[in-house]
Symmetry: C2
Subunit: 416 residues, 2 copies
């Protein structure tokens, strides 16, 4: 638990922003003496903005925060605070975005737009291109979601219908420099994907977009198809981007925390994206190997993976991907001594539950059996919340205010 909590601490918006603003590139911008205009978007926008405002000590005099309803926590100097719809953008999204764009007017080369980006930024920052409406974008997004398209594909289409995404926001900043601080929730930190990359050159092309349209057989009106065919910026000379909190930071911090406690560590992946229960089975098979042959590491050891697994729901139960991974791994490590698997979402909210994830060990399944519960059947029903709740294996952190995907740690103690 300590390892996981320390890791989450490292990716809290406040700590992440502070670290980024202490970097040399940002200090250089400050030394130019121009204006610093704040634009913060996403679910962590308020907390990132507050941290930036406080740590820059009066340097920020103007700006806009656009966050999800209920996510702002008071005034921040002269910064305008807007709340808007998420995951579906609404009228307030448009209003907030217009306010942000107004702040860009008349900026000079010496000025800096401090652009703080966090998860949810795609929905919370939007101005459709001319001739396109929010409803158009919602319709296309809906069609894509229903077809099983991934977030990268959805953003690929959505950004082309937008006047601020796919690098277009940075173009609108004109001569001013955009210093972007990104709290990443996209695996592999693809910067053109996070919040649909308002200040990042778009790596995808018209051809890619049309391929996605064909792949899922989307039906779009001709005006939208024309808009999709307008190419996005492929180069931006006025942007510096710092990825400050990401699943990599999360995993590295977990690794360091485990190291300090005397565990040998191995970071397997920060882009784990397979089915949650299968990831649990895979990790359990590593645990068995440590137990029987001391491979891949001699205990005491911590084997760390990060990413965002998926759950294809078939049952009617309650749970989340971290709980699914944890319960599945409990089946695989059954009977092993001093073996623990913890899997948590860094946002503290795993699926539609009040738990961040689960923490299981070699005795978890036996405990469930004593309670008359069949772990396999509960997993099959995707009812992992109730399974883990029954045996006291839920991890509850409360909402953490950050969102950089999930962390899974296999801890094997020394039994020699």
């Amino acid at each position: 638990m300590k390892v996981a909590l320390e890791a989450i601490d490292a990716v809290l918006p406040e700590n992440a922003v502070k670290k980024a603003l202490e970097s040399d590139p940002f200090k250089e911008r400050v030394s130019l003496g121009g204006k610093i205009v704040l634009v913060a978007i996403g679910k962590a926008a308020w907390r990132m903005a507050k941290a930036a405002f406080d740590s820059l000590n009066g340097l920020i005099t103007d700006g806009v925060v656009i966050t999800k309803y209920g996510h702002s926590m008071g005034e921040i100097g002269g910064v305008e605070i807007c709340e808007a719809g998420h995951p579906v953008p609404d009228e307030n999204t448009l209003k907030g975005t217009e306010k942000a764009l107004k702040k860009l007017r008349g900026l000079s080369e010496r000025d800096t737009v401090l652009f703080l980006v966090s998860g949810g930024g795609s929905a919370l920052f939007e101005k459709p291109k001319e001739g396109v409406t929010l409803e158009d974008i919602a319709d296309v997004t809906g069609q894509l979601l229903a077809s099983g398209a991934g977030i990268v594909e959805i953003n690929m289409i959505r950004k082309r219908l937008s006047a601020v995404k796919g690098g277009r926001f940075a173009c609108l900043a004109g001569k001013a420099h955009v210093f972007a601080v990104v709290l990443s929730d996209v695996l592999g930190d693809r910067l053109d994907s996070i919040a649909s990359g308002p200040a990042y050159p778009d790596a995808t092309t018209v051809k890619d977009a049309l391929r996605v349209i064909r792949k899922y057989g989307l039906s779009l009106r001709p005006q939208l198809l024309d808009t999709l065919r307008e190419e996005t910026p492929k180069e931006l000379s006025n942007v510096t981007t710092v990825v400050t909190g990401s699943v990599k930071t999360l995993c590295t911090a977990a690794s360091e925390a485990a190291s300090k406690l005397g565990y040998k560590t191995l970071l397997l992946s920060t882009t784990l994206d397979c089915e949650a229960r299968e990831a649990g089975a895979f990790i359990a098979s590593i645990a068995r190997e440590v137990n029987s042959t001391k491979n891949p590491l001699k205990p005491p050891c911590a084997i760390i993976t990060g990413g965002e697994t998926v759950v294809h729901v078939k049952g009617k139960g309650k749970g989340g991907r971290n709980q699914e991974l944890a319960l599945s791994s409990a089946l695989g490590i059954r009977g092993l001594d001093r073996t623990v698997v913890i899997s948590v979402g860094s946002d503290g909210t795993d699926g539609p539950t009040d738990a961040a994830g689960g923490l299981v060990d070699g005795s978890t399944i036996a405990v469930l059996e004593e309670l008359g519960l069949d772990a396999e059947a509960l997993l099959e029903d995707n009812d992992t919340y109730n399974a883990l709740d029954a045996c006291g294996c839920l991890v509850r952190t409360g909402p953490t205010g950050t969102n950089v995907n999930d962390l899974t740690i296999l801890l094997c103690g020394d039994w020699s």
Copy 2:
């Protein structure tokens, strides 16, 4: 490829048996000067028996080989060669088993039964308990298979209906010592599971068996239920068991071969048992990590897993679990330089195909696209054979004559 082939070589029946017979415990038995009676069962029985006969140089004068139809390749001294049904036991299974039991009569303490066990032994070595018929066993096995029971569960039931399984064969050997050499195809080498453990104390109990019956709601006639309730031996003092070829040997040999070629190696698991395509995605996520952060190992490195993944077939295509794993990992390593994933079945036969598995790299998906093939769609249709065949990524070794599960190797070259 070289690494995989060297690994398979280490688990060929001949090499595995030779190694076991050079061990001290066997030499001790030989030094007693008693008779050595050979009983070899399983798909590799003939090859194991031949290797034992040749390397013991005339010490074996009597014995029985029971293997699958078409799997014997000529005379072996005075040893009787029987072929029988697999995977469904038949009259010849019973006849062969009776012959083997006859050889046990009148043996003394000084005598040794050299018992060579390989995959398929469950079907090829059978004598139902009194009042039970082969049809009964077939019926129960069929019910279990249809209910989705695992091999461990199936064997748990089947062994209790048998007069030779679950340690009962060793009891029938009386005073003679049973020296068992096991080529393991059961993950984790649970010796009471391999060939249903004729010479190994049964770790499962009447209670376990009744739980399985309930779990799958099997319908059995009362006589069978009574037989199931007879406890199996829990201790055997006249048995020495050597596991000689197993997925562990396979993985260790792969690791050594990769090491010799200059790769740093990591053995993650020898009991991987999750869904094949999800294992491929997991391994690909490790490949991406090596590529981006040089974790868990700096290239050049080889990351090795062994086990027996599963495929839940939904499509109508042709393939096997290794091909499924390989194609899935190809999607995940798309675009990575000097990154190769090879996954092969040690028996050379992956699923109902003529391939042992697949070998893919970062360019595999692009090659398929150039051919107008959609790798995701082919994977969805379980048509991995045709996908990998189209791009020249199938691995064909031909039947190897051994069967110790699968080997997957991720190779990351040095691009610095």
